[in-house]
Symmetry: D2
Subunit: 332 residues, 4 copies
């Protein structure tokens, strides 16, 4: 439920207002240089504070609790923990009765029978992605020289990001965005024909990131409107490089050596200052609700660091699997 | 690699031109009525023959090899096998040297070191989806009264399906399409907050279907262009029904009781009569290539039966997991 | 439920009196020479016919249904199927009401609600081990030059096997036995510290073989009666060879390069001509029951081929995992 | 590698001399009463201090870091952490060159390329079983009213435990022991026919406990010396109760409702004051070595709390699986 991966296997735990959140990375090869400061840059990218993100900030200090000795991984599970410090003792108990539209208040309540920790999103909180970012830092070291990068293509339907944010802040509503991720220097042969196709496993991981509602590889939905003669990528050398890259670097579920490209749709932050209507489960009456307090105008702004980490984690697992001879028998 | 699922677990095997293709369904509850004729309608929907699909037809006769006794499942693995009969002894060996653009010829060759069965797509063949359709028939029985339906929204960029097909046939090129899938009468509470979110597991399975290059839930990519106040679905009763369904029936990774809705993008069939360019790996020279023979003009036409089966399989696994008390402890 | 393994993953299916039994081997590396006749010798070792085994014989003809092309594995799942031919149409329905002591009649009935195929043991039948033997043949090729051998140490409490069998046949009762398995030329480093220790995974697989009720590694239960100074194996060279081998080739869950040694206890065949007492679930009265027909006097005689196969399957999976650089990071 | 279980899934991490050791329990149902003091009694049973155990003591204070809210589980992962406090800064670096007989020094060094944390056993340390004991406390709540109990049958080959310990202390050597575990009030129907038989999964978990070298169910190795007519347990009522319990409560891999009984062999503590010989990997010369310091004379004395926890964890997972209607389809 809270684990992912086959040979590089991660498990996350924690709640927004509990003691801590963190991650256990199992199957991490021994001998990878790793120290606390390695996490800083990526954690900073995920952090809030910039325009369009919440002004509430937590220090996000990673503590390596196991699996590292003399600043090198040992081969045992690497556990990275983040203490929760900025947990205001607000009263969240209203959420049990008055589920916020767009949030997991209603589904969490139903699934966990009212036992869920509802404070600040509890286990559903985006704060859990701190662990993903930490695992991504390790994964990037495993997959080097392959590299993962991403870019925000648009927010609020506009490629003019600055002005779209200004507008959203002015009208006190939240907006979504579209992010593109590219993985370069990928070896040929990662992924499997069906259930563990590169698209299948990547999308599985990517939809674990809160607020993502769509993913497309290469030309994606546009491919559905192309002719075969347009969409097929002509192969131009013996390494499998192609003239175009409509396939997004994947054929038959397997990496073909070109850049892996995919885009994700991030929905607008569910918390908005605008009034919404919902059912009060206690009274059985409809109520008007507007979410007070400090929240991200555009959560998509904070997704790139998490999305790249997610992609790196998937690639690390595939690469460790491929090291078993690329599934080809060595005749002895 | 070729298995999927946790409590309802399927494993597929076979090649296009081998002895047979088939599926093993493990974890199938005992006591489900099942006989060979139950598969007929769905297999017929998947079949070719209609306009825009290949005229080559195989009988696709399912044989239940285990797990059923007196026309009821026994609780042991249900194995369904399809003999391959229409396997022309054409010479496919050229594909080893001259990989077709858009196909898995190059990636399969690289991954499996030239040992792959390259005849007719081998293990990459869409023929493997016969097993998925068979498993979908069983899964539908498990999830009833929940229902899975789908519709082709457009092919070749056109909602006028008939004329889009006519045009593609005339210009001798292939086209893709977009399909929408809806799952109704879904219990609240299926799915998990992060790695096993309903979107995550569903997309994992759906990208196992060949030719799919994108998936979006609810408003999907359009959500990225909406305001939070527009996108959030107001909750209008104590069952969690919502006024709109931009979330596609899922909040926080968990079903909210509304219809689950998603759309997929199907790329144009990789085989096209149009000339393409590719590298001859033997000679090191570029060659022009056009794919002769009978193939689907629009493979998207045959996807609905497979897509619904895939969705039903995912839902069956989630429902079996939910039967363990919905993850809520019974105080004794 | 009916699958085992991580990178070399097997799934079994079938019933004693159904259409067929078989196995799907997933994760099998491409390029392994494999043809039907490769299975013959091991299948013959498993077969009945010798003194102390049932005179009922089936031909046990393996059919490779997928995953092999030009007598080499392709990297796709290898499916091997055995048709059931010698299935007498006896009436087995009494077993539903009158569970035989020592058999799975009662537990199967309870678990599967009466839907189980009770004919000839159904899915519980030892006939399912045909698939294990087939997978063992492939696994041996993967692990070579490592070798798996076993020997029957005793049957019916006697090391004089011939006379113990004669005696059991004369008194018309069944007997058990103890078998020792040795794996040689094992690389150092297979297995993990805790849950995937070599003992843990090996015992998991070995207890999947019907009738096995105990396993011990190295000195095993005798170790519990030794002093530390006696039990510890002195290391005598830089390859880790030890003077003695009380540890059975495993320290801290990981192979140490010496022979892996374990012994298993096989209970006496549950079917015996002697009278036993059991409850008639229909009438609620105790009944006397003696199992007519042809059965193995000592099923332990047929276990070695299956036990070696099981051991080879476990080693193959560990070796494929180890090929990912033995869990050590390559600095680039 | 460091995870176990299907629906109740645990992951352990940590090293003897690192920051902490701990466990993440995923799939824990919501609503189980749980507070820190619940762990005290079982942790105390595992603790050293009594005759025959090491006088070195650590406080072993459990901290619940996630998954509990208002002293009830939330359905999210429960993380329990134990800080390491009594970590003397001794010099352990000699172990890299001079592997101790019976320990994992050599295998750990080889598997992890010298990167392992070798201080005090590192990740191989018995201290990791603290997490198992914590998970066992939760598991017992899940399986109630089923109960797990164990007893030390013998140490050092003697049923006179007190005097056997006195003798071992006097001669300054270590000794092993045999422990019997019994699980009562077990529902019928837990376990699966082959790979997930109750014996298979239980042994997998039990061999994860350091120092265990053998396991037998019911009559175990003695069964191999019995006749079928002796070993078979006559069924005496409609609940499946049997006259005898040679099967240890399991037929065909599935619980039959009687007590589940198994015994394990615990080897003598590898650390002994007696002199042993081993290879100095640096100099290539044999050396004599005796392990100084405080260690357990008989580690078997501390195993019962861990063994019972392990058994409870396995049963909890099986029971959660069984709650999905016992694998029987409900006709709607």
């Amino acid at each position: 439920m809270n684990s992912f991966g086959k040979l590089f296997r991660i498990s996350i735990y924690g709640e927004s207002h509990g003691e801590s959140v963190g991650i256990v990375m199992d199957g991490c090869p021994a001998g990878i240089p790793l120290k606390t400061s390695d996490f800083e840059a990526e954690l900073a990218r995920r952090k809030s504070g910039a325009k369009g993100t919440t002004p509430r900030q937590e220090p996000d200090i990673p503590r390596i609790m196991s699996g590292v000795f003399n600043e090198l991984t040992t081969g045992a599970p690497v556990m990275v923990q983040f203490d929760n410090t900025n947990t205001r003792s607000r009263d969240y108990s209203l959420l049990k009765d008055i589920p916020r539209p767009g949030h997991a208040d209603f589904t969490g309540q139903q699934k966990f029978g009212g036992y869920q920790d509802y404070r600040g999103g509890g286990h559903f909180s985006g704060r859990l992605t701190l662990g993903l970012v930490a695992a991504g830092v390790v994964a990037r070291k495993i997959i080097a020289p392959a590299k993962v990068e991403s870019a925000i293509l648009e927010v609020g339907g506009s490629t003019q990001i600055e002005s779209a944010l200004d507008n959203a802040i002015e009208i006190q509503d939240s907006i979504g965005g579209i992010i593109e991720c590219r993985i370069s220097e990928v070896p040929v042969g990662l992924g499997e024909p069906f259930f563990d196709s590169l698209e299948a496993v990547m999308s599985h991981m990517v939809f674990s990131i809160p607020a993502i509602k769509g993913i497309e590889f290469g030309s994606g939905f546009e491919a559905a409107r192309m002719k075969g003669s347009e969409h097929n990528d002509n192969i131009i050398d013996s390494q499998g490089n192609t003239e175009t890259n409509h396939a997004g670097g994947i054929n038959g579920g397997i990496s073909n050596g070109n850049e892996i490209i995919f885009r994700v749709a991030v929905k607008p932050t569910s918390s908005t200052h605008q009034a919404q209507r919902t059912m009060n489960m206690q009274s059985g009456k409809m109520e008007e609700l507007s979410i007070e307090g400090r929240h991200d105008t555009c959560i998509a702004l904070r997704v790139p660091a998490v999305l790249e980490a997610a992609a790196a984690i998937v690639m690390a697992d595939f690469m460790l699997q491929a090291q078993q001879t690329g599934r080809i028998f060595k005749h002895k």
